[in-house]
């Protein structure tokens, strides 16, 4: 069986997506750069604070890469975790790699670390824009159990593209938070099919939030990342205005839609109820050219 991206640890993902044996970790576990906040809270800490950063090669091209470990605190961003990510992005300004890869799996800010976590995420956002402003694409891979939510959801959409699998999710507030705040009538977080129709990879791809849907396989993510190396960041005013116009149109076109299936139907997809059942390749064929 192919290696599942969803099942793999952050380290296994990096090893499988990048060129074999090309990854050199910066601030490895043996450096023990850990969270001072968790120790004070008498909470278990990880040697790498839940994020692996370093440099390697992708299809022979030099890249910087980071991977968040969802198994540690749901991949949440704390002070050190965020600093490693910011440091990596700032390093890109020095070493000028072909691209920066972010293998995201995160619920967002690590609440344990409060303001330090919030500040860390905002610094990540600024660093991402600086890297893109220097003409280096930042590519997000999203396909883990914990999805990409909160501050990291915003970070992902600041990047050049998101490569996502069906199992992957991308959003701001988590489904449980929406249900708790707005009630189960508004959003039943235990209706998993609904959750995935709303924030899952297929819908995000159709809506244009994600650039490409791939199968849950590290090989598929790798191939898509290689394709994305060709991207050139566009932070021009025209690009921004285009984006604003598209978002405005989205409300006009789909504002009355009750469920993602209605949006897919409006996009001209035949048999939209069947989309969640299709494998990635069939999904891409059936929905070719149909994007919001």
């Amino acid at each position: 069986m192919t290696q599942s991206y969803y099942e793999a640890s952050a380290r296994e993902r990096l090893a499988a997506v990048l060129d074999p044996s090309s990854f050199q970790e910066i601030l490895p576990p043996s450096a023990r750069v850990m969270s001072p906040h968790l120790r004070q809270l008498d909470t278990p800490a990880a040697f790498d604070d839940g994020i692996i950063v370093g440099e390697g090669r992708l299809d022979g091209q030099p890249v910087l890469a980071a991977a968040q470990e969802g198994g540690f605190m749901g991949g949440a961003v704390g002070e050190v975790h965020g600093a490693k990510l910011v440091g990596l992005l700032e390093r890109a300004l020095d070493t000028r790699p072909t691209a920066v890869l972010l293998l995201v799996e995160s619920g967002g800010v690590r609440l344990h670390e409060a303001n330090a976590g919030l500040i860390a995420v905002s610094e990540v956002m600024r660093a991402v824009l600086a890297v893109r402003g220097a003409g280096i694409p930042v590519i997000v891979l999203d396909g883990g159990q914990f999805g990409c939510f909160g501050g990291m959801g915003i970070v992902a959409r600041l990047c050049d593209t998101v490569i996502i699998s069906e199992e992957g999710r991308l959003g701001l507030s988590g489904p449980e938070v929406i249900e708790t705040t707005c009630g189960v009538e508004e959003f039943d977080s235990r209706d998993r099919a609904l959750v995935w129709r709303t924030v899952g990879g297929k819908h995000r791809t159709l809506l244009g939030e994600a650039g490409e849907l791939v199968a849950d396989a590290t090989a598929a993510f790798r191939a898509a990342a290689i394709r994305a190396l060709a991207l050139t960041p566009d932070l021009s005013l025209e690009a921004l205005e285009r984006e604003h116009a598209a978002l405005g149109q989205r409300i006009e076109r789909f504002g009355e839609c009750h469920d993602a299936v209605d949006i897919w139907r409006a996009l001209g997809v035949e048999d939209p109820e069947r989309l969640p059942l299709l494998e990635a390749a069939d999904f891409n064929t059936v929905t070719a050219g149909k994007r919001a």
Partner: protein, 547 residues
């Protein structure tokens, strides 16, 4: 002169009281309470379909809402206490006595009601035992059952989740009792007749379809590497050793791991066609890859499993289906099959003591037994031979000068520590304390040590059949109890000796490379993989999806 027909007369009187509510056999849902009030008499023995999976939930609600001044002191006999209403009847004074088998979801509340003296438990049974008593001393006077559909004559279609219904209705109808069925729909023509109209007195279409719980679905994503290792040991150390072809799996992630290792690990050992051909088993989604790979010849089920209906209909050579195509399950028959026609039971438990007795009893909860005591016990009435049965019998009796006979393999499979570092191996079962606090005659043991043939942990397999003294048995158990206090207190020399004699076998002794025990060995690693393996026929309930 004695009147020998009191039951029939009494039945007639009840039917007369209810006559104004019926159109033929049909009663409207709004008249359900009136119907029950009319046909029930205080002190009646009432069977309510609390099955393992399906629930006559509408009738349960109506029953719990009756006026206790009119209907009181009912004696409830039912398989499972699954719904809050099943205990509301006691809380409200409608019922006062209970005989049952399993109460998992309601175990804590049941314990509380017992402690408060609000409920008088006759006994806790294993399913087949309770069914047997329906024909001896616990015959229901009124039974409240559920079915998918009825026709206008009152025939019932119970479909894939037939479960306990035929047994309950037979016992009730043929002792002049009253059978009331809630159905999802009333149709002109049924797909097939599961319960003949003659046996049914009243049919009520419930406002909502009756509830069915998906109890037998295990998400492969939750299977751990340790469980994969244990599954490898089970397959190589027991299934292959004894050529186990007819079996039942107690539900759990441990057994799901075994099911998912058949097409991969067992196949690599050349075991296809030599093990796991006939099953008494609910239609576990985790069995799909093994079925598709050609391991499985037949499966008879106690009940169905939500989402598996179309897959079952597409595999009629394997499952028991009617001419209409849908499955027919039957708990009583499957339990009989599991007792007499299977060579092995394997399941997990919460606690095991030094005699090999195992229990799922915990303080503050009265959970009952379900089917495990029946499946997990030696069938002394069995007479037909099979290689596995004969081999187990020989191992147990060799050198003891006894009349030779066979023995069923009863395997308890458990990790040495449970969650929160609770040891699974204990000197004294919590069951003793529970018995005392709940006033039980005996400590509630799920499977008696005398019936256990093997104990399998991540540390190895203890073959209790080969033990000849209580001391050997105790050390064999300690020898696989790992780092639990029970395990650490082992007699090291004795355990080494037992290992030399093959009574304890560690993974290395079985030739198992622990580094292969990864999730990559599973034929399916997610629910989606199971859907794929079924060719899209398996339709998992919402809670199991992540797409």
């Amino acid at each position: 002169m004695r009147d020998w027909n009191t039951q029939a007369r009494n039945r007639e009187a009840r039917l007369v009281r209810a006559a104004h509510l019926t159109q033929g056999k049909t009663v409207e849902a709004k008249d359900a309470a009136a119907l029950l009030s009319a046909v029930l008499e205080p002190g009646d023995r009432v069977c309510l379909e609390g099955n393992n999976q399906k629930q006559a939930d509408f009738l349960a609600k109506v029953l719990a809402g009756l006026d206790p001044a009119r209907v009181h002191d009912l004696h409830m006999v039912q398989s499972v206490l699954a719904l809050p209403e099943h205990l509301d009847v006691f809380d409200r004074g409608v019922a006062s006595r209970l005989d049952f088998s399993f109460s998992g979801p309601q175990g804590a509340r049941l314990a509380k009601l017992v402690a408060e003296g609000r409920i008088n438990i006759g006994a806790i049974h294993t399913y087949l035992e309770l069914f047997g008593r329906y024909f001896v001393d616990l015959t229901p006077r009124v039974s409240l059952v559920c079915a998918q559909a009825a026709d206008r004559a009152g025939n019932l279609y119970t479909g894939p989740n037939t479960e306990d219904t035929p047994t309950i209705v037979e016992a009730t109808a043929f002792k002049r009792g009253i059978v009331i069925a809630q159905v999802n729909q009333i149709v002109d023509s049924l797909p097939r007749v599961d319960i003949p109209a003659d046996w049914v007195d009243f049919v009520i279409q419930s406002p909502k379809p009756h509830y069915i719980e998906p109890l037998f679905t295990r998400d492969p994503a939750q299977i751990s590497e340790i469980q994969v290792l244990m599954a490898m040991m089970a397959i190589k150390g027991i299934y292959a050793e004894y050529e186990v072809n007819r079996l039942n799996h107690g539900i759990g992630f441990d057994t799901a791991a075994i099911e998912l290792l058949l097409p991969t690990y067992a196949e690599s050992l050349g075991l296809k066609g030599r093990i796991c051909r006939h099953w008494a088993l609910n239609p576990h989604p985790a069995l799909i890859p093994a079925i598709e790979a050609g391991f499985v010849e037949s499966v008879h089920s106690f009940g169905s499993e939500l989402g598996m209906e179309k897959y079952i209909e597409a595999r009629p050579d394997v499952f028991f289906t009617g001419p209409d195509g849908s499955m027919r399950s039957n708990r009583a028959m499957s339990q009989a099959a599991g007792h007499y026609a299977c060579d092995m039971f394997i399941g997990s438990t919460l606690q095991i003591d030094l005699g090999g007795n195992s229990s799922t009893a915990t303080l503050g909860r009265i959970a009952g037994f379900g089917g495990a005591p029946n499946m997990g016990s030696d069938a002394r009435g069995r007479r037909h031979a099979s290689p596995a049965w004969l081999k187990a019998g020989r191992e147990a009796r060799e050198g003891r000068g006894l009349m030779p006979r066979g023995q069923k393999l009863v395997v308890q499979m458990v990790e040495t520590f449970r969650e929160h570092m609770q040891p699974a191996f204990v000197e004294r079962l919590d069951a003793w304390e529970l018995a005392e606090s709940a006033g039980m005659d005996l400590p509630p043991v799920m499977i008696y040590g005398e019936d256990v043939s093997h104990i399998l942990t991540e540390e190895g397999i203890a073959n209790l059949l080969l033990c000849r003294t209580d001391e050997e048995r105790e050390q064999a158990i300690r020898g696989v109890a790992g780092y639990t206090p029970v395990g650490l207190a082992r007699d090291k020399r004795m355990v080494e000796n037992l290992r030399d004699r093959g009574i304890i076998r560690r993974p290395e002794d079985l030739g198992i490379d622990k580094s292969l025990a990864t999730r990559d060995l599973l034929a399916a690693r997610s629910v989606k993989d199971l859907v794929r393996a079924s060719g899209g026929l398996y339709d998992p309930p919402k809670r199991f999806r992540n797409w």
